[in-house]
């Protein structure tokens, strides 16, 4: 009907300043930059929602934005970070509570005041030990207000933040945490817990206590991180900070350069992804194509139309399932890519008639048996490194030799129904390429695909020889993220 622009920005929600609107639009922009798709309607919904929410209630404010703007749970974490950056510091301005308070030490002594006599007057005199002691006690009691205050004090003291210094928040976080030495704190908490009970703690109790304390420490860590972020925002402005803390969504993380944290996120993201992919493929198989005309059935049904075949019936389609052979380089940097791909392929193995997998570095070994009878592909993937015999000489990738070995031992088992997936960056360490092997594999099988975890622009640079293999592959596909991997596998099945 009317153009979306027309619906635009007409009425500001009552009682909101232009400032809120401005930071809201900055906020939405940043969400989009981070990869969360926010449509115009959703943006308007958010503004509409804010009319009904008491603005001083920060939680309600946050949930109102989340419910209208973020429609996918895996985007929640990104949303939360961006929210922190845009709406934490500006507390006073918009009466969103939780402004910055640099007199954290005073706050601590306020909180302590009635209970402890010793730290009278200004708390500037708190020593390192005293702060540590307070931290310990607050953690034991699970005193959240106190923990927040201590987090502030700790950041003031230990992070050594300097205005205008272009360092990321992680650096300050690291400095603060190093001073607090939380591992030792946990140790001490456990000991205290053991002392407090008169009986010996059973294993189970011990474990539960530990988990409780760990979750409190996690909360503290988050609080410190948030505090650092708040100060960074105060120093450099929301936009700059948002840019520096921007992280890719799980499906956009680069396999080759994923940090440990990102790998965890990837592993978490892969399970729902495979489930969805399997459902989609099964449906496609059932509904996608119509089989040939079923003459008998059509004639039978024509009886109810007086012999006119008005309602043609088709045979149930039974497209043959492809047989997959995966040959994966598991050396060094490409290893995690190979693992995720194997994981994905096996997780939807019901969509293939057969999956066989081989891994190599400079030797080659079959690992299909690791996946047999295992419920969870992740488990099998974890065992590959320990159990596969892939190093023949010096442990540097040698594609040519690996392909030769494969050809010698398994080529006669390939049929015209096998699809071969080769995973690797084709960095051959200047060994011989043995292109003729791939040519023969292509001849024997249905298709050969090469999945390369490097960006296209890096191909054929240095010792990468993907160009030499490419003519014998159906397609060479850049496959750096889960999104690309999913798209490829979806096409394949």
């Amino acid at each position: 009907m009317s153009l979306p622009v027309g619906v635009g920005v007409p009425e500001l929600p009552l009682g909101t300043s232009a400032g809120l609107l401005e930071s809201l639009s900055g906020f939405v922009k940043e969400l989009r930059n981070a990869g969360i798709p926010v449509s115009l309607t959703e943006n308007l919904d958010a503004m509409e929602a804010l009319k009904h929410i008491p603005l001083e209630d920060r939680d309600a404010f946050k949930y109102a934005l989340a419910a209208t703007l973020v429609k996918n749970n895996s985007h929640w974490k990104t949303f939360e970070t961006v929210f922190e950056v845009y709406f934490s510091l500006r507390g006073r301005e918009y009466h969103l509570v939780d402004g910055v308070d640099d007199e954290a030490d005073d706050l601590i002594s306020d909180l302590l005041g009635p209970r402890e006599g010793e730290s009278s007057g200004s708390a500037d005199g708190l020593t390192h030990e005293q702060l540590a002691e307070m931290l310990f006690r607050a953690l034991m009691d699970g005193n959240e207000a106190m923990l927040r205050a201590i987090a502030r004090a700790a950041v003031t003291r230990y992070a050594g933040m300097e205005p205008g210094r272009p360092v990321g928040g992680t650096y300050y976080l690291y400095r603060t945490l190093r001073q607090l030495d939380l591992d030792a704190v946990l140790q001490r908490m456990m000991e205290t817990a053991r002392d407090q009970t008169h009986d010996e703690l059973t294993d189970l109790e011990d474990r539960l206590a530990r988990e409780e304390y760990e979750s409190r420490l996690d909360a503290l860590r988050r609080e410190i991180e948030a505090e650092i972020r708040r100060r960074l925002v105060a120093d450099r402005g929301a936009e700059a900070v948002a840019k520096s803390v921007r992280k890719p969504l799980p499906e956009d993380i680069d396999f080759m350069h994923a940090s440990r944290e990102e790998l965890v996120a990837l592993r978490k993201a892969i399970a729902p992804l495979t489930r969805k992919l399997a459902v989609r493929l099964a449906r496609k198989r059932r509904h996608g194509r119509k089989g040939p005309l079923d003459f008998r059935n059509t004639v039978r049904h024509s009886l109810s139309y007086g012999g006119v075949p008005a309602d043609p019936k088709f045979r149930y389609p039974r497209p043959s399932k492809p047989e997959i052979v995966v040959i994966a380089d598991i050396s060094g940097s490409v290893a995690s890519f190979a693992r995720f791909t194997l994981h994905l392929v096996y997780a939807i193995s019901s969509q293939f008639s057969k999956v066989r997998s081989f891994v190599f570095v400079d030797g080659l070994d079959e690992v299909s048996q690791l996946f047999e009878g295992v419920d969870d592909p992740a488990e099998a993937v974890a065992r590959i490194n320990a159990e596969a015999d892939v190093i023949a000489f010096d442990g540097h990738s040698d594609y040519g030799r690996a392909f030769l070995t494969f050809h010698e031992r398994f080529a006669d088992q390939l049929t015209k129904r096998s699809t071969i997936l080769i995973l690797g960056d084709a960095r051959n360490n200047y060994h011989q390429a043995h292109v003729e092997v791939i040519a023969d594999l292509k001849y024997r099988s249905k298709a050969v695909y090469w999945l390369n975890p490097e960006p296209t622009s890096y191909w054929n640079s240095g010792d990468s020889i993907v160009r030499q293999y490419a003519p014998y592959c159906e397609r060479v596909v850049e496959c750096r993220t889960l999104r690309q991997l999913e798209a490829f596998v979806g096409e394949l099945a």
Partner: protein, 307 residues
């Protein structure tokens, strides 16, 4: 982009504030967290449906039921499944009745009845079978519409829902457009087995219900399992949290926590040790491999102490 903005100020707001939603839901035995209460409140104010997502057994369907109970509305439920079509979801003409009508007309043909009369007659309300969606729209009294497991229908069928969700109306070619007399609260639940279409998501408020945090789950156990002691409830939820942190095929849901707590109560157990926990694990976990994994982990927890 033709979705007109639904009437936002219905004038008949059901709730005062997020806090009143929270209190209300509590009074009917559903313990919401702030997010849940806030989104329900907003849905009422904005006149928008809520898309509820989250792991199975966290009370998605129960939320709709509880809201219905709280507002004294009738709950109309549409269970989705693969192959659901408009004759099951929206409306259908009552063919048998139409046929009878036609035959009755034939008998009385001598009276000089005309075909056009019949035609007008047989495509009228008495011959219409209303299905849940239409029923919710036409209801005079307050209703809560629950569209359960919406991720099970095909993407094409999702389109059926769009008109109803954005404009609260249903178009029937023979009758015209039926608009809602009052805007019902609509809940859609999804187990996230596939990505829902953007169009559907855009029309809804999004609510993710995850496993509750420790305090809330404990409270849930205390209210839903009468007779349980505080210390046992505490232990139960702690152990469940511990089990959830493992990588399992299917983590225990809230309803399974409740089942477990009830079982322990029936067995007369005052405090859970590793053995009891291992023996009753099959109530919490439904896969053999998960049970083995958790049992192994619970009994070897001493190993982690020496970290």
């Amino acid at each position: 982009m033709s979705d007109s903005v639904p009437p936002s100020d219905t004038g008949s707001a059901r709730f005062e504030s997020p806090a009143s939603v929270r209190e209300g839901l509590r009074s009917v035995g559903y313990l919401p967290d702030d997010g849940i209460a806030g989104v329900v409140y907003l849905a009422d104010r904005l006149g928008k449906p809520i898309l509820v997502e989250g792991p199975a057994g966290t009370g998605k369907t129960q939320l709709a039921k509880s809201v219905a109970e709280l507002t004294g509305a009738r709950l109309i439920r549409l269970q989705c499944y693969e192959g659901l079509d408009e004759s099951k979801a929206l409306y259908e003409w009552n063919y048998k009745k139409q046929l009878l009508r036609i035959q009755a007309q034939r008998v009385a043909e001598d009276d000089g009845g005309k075909w056009t009369d019949i035609e007008e007659d047989i495509f009228s309300e008495p011959f219409l079978l209303t299905r849940p969606l239409l029923e919710a729209i036409r209801a005079e009294e307050p209703v809560v519409l629950l569209i359960d497991e919406v991720d099970r229908v095909e993407v094409e069928t999702e389109a059926l829902l769009l008109e109803i969700l954005s404009d609260y109306q249903v178009s029937i070619p023979e009758l015209g457009t039926v608009s809602a007399t009052q805007i019902p609260l609509v809940f859609l639940t999804s187990n996230n087995t596939r990505e829902l279409s953007e169009a559907l998501k855009r029309r809804c408020l999004f609510l993710h219900i995850d496993y509750p945090d420790l305090e809330r789950e404990k409270e849930i156990v205390l209210t839903r399992v009468p007779g349980i002691t505080e210390s046992l409830a505490d232990q139960v939820v702690r152990i469940v949290r511990s089990i959830r942190s493992l990588e399992l095929k299917k983590a225990p849901s809230v309803s399974e926590t409740l089942d477990w707590a009830r079982t322990l109560l029936l067995l007369g157990i005052q405090s859970v040790d590793a053995d009891t926990a291992t023996q009753t694990l099959h109530i919490l976990l439904k896969y053999q491999s998960d049970i083995e994994k958790a049992a192994k982990d619970l009994s070897t927890s001493s190993a982690s102490t020496s970290r």
